[in-house]
Symmetry: C3
Subunit: 109 residues, 3 copies
């Protein structure tokens, strides 16, 4: 038995939840902030047997991995047109920090 | 030393807190959602020496275990009397998912 | 690799965050309540290599350790002047409860 603690960006949180449910894994979500990742984030607790750890890790990677995203330019309100970039820019979104912890005892009551 | 992580239903959370305090155990509570249990839930972190783990597990079981509860019928507002069941029904409430983790170092400052 | 879980008082939380960032450590913060400490508290998750554990523990201790603080007397509103103490009193603030957990696998995606 392992406890997987995954810190993911809020924007990937719902997608990850749905993917885990679909694959029949259960997760508890904790609201969290800052630190491992720049934006608001969610901490998932996922308990699973040893032989399913790699599958859960794949699901996390597939749904949360860091990637570049094109962001449409925002036209400047009022002044400051100097810093205006009139074409889409790439920003990095997503990313997950994942810890796999050993579990000595697991019970469901 | 062990760290016990217990995910319990919100409705059992206060009762569990009180039972732990009464038995002289200290817990930290984290608001959590979804996953292991269907309804809103609370995640307890309880640090304790190895020889007290079984007592803490008993307290969690006694206060949170899954059980059937009779729910009084709610009389239908307006229409839809078709689906009205005029006697109490049993629903399952409670339940706890508990992980016991090994602790390598424990400090209080 | 270790996962350090530290429960600290809310009033020390920002100071600890800043000290960790300055020393180049990343932490995730979870809002938590009650238990290990009397007042509102924050739970930090800090992942770090084995050789940095003692440095992180020192940073937590330096920024959160339990200490006495002089609190100015509050003049009684209306009656109850009997219990009024006209000089500053010492109260204990701060404190941290810290668990160091072994990590079997650590990934960043
Ligand atoms: Ni299986
Ligand atoms: Ni004892
Ligand atoms: Ni290093």
């Amino acid at each position: 038995m392992k406890l997987i603690i995954a810190v993911v960006q809020d924007k990937d949180s719902n997608r990850l939840s749905e993917a885990l449910v679909k694959a029949n894994y259960r997760a508890t979500k904790l609201a969290s902030t800052g630190g491992f990742l720049k934006a608001g984030n969610t901490t998932f607790l996922i308990g699973t047997e040893d032989e399913h750890v790699e599958e859960v890790m794949s699901i996390i990677k597939d749904n949360c991995k860091s990637r570049d995203q094109l962001v449409a330019p925002i036209s400047p309100m009022g002044g400051n047109a100097d810093s205006y970039v009139p074409y889409p820019v790439e920003v990095q979104v997503g990313g997950a920090t994942v810890f796999v912890l050993p579990v000595e005892q697991f019970e469901q009551y």
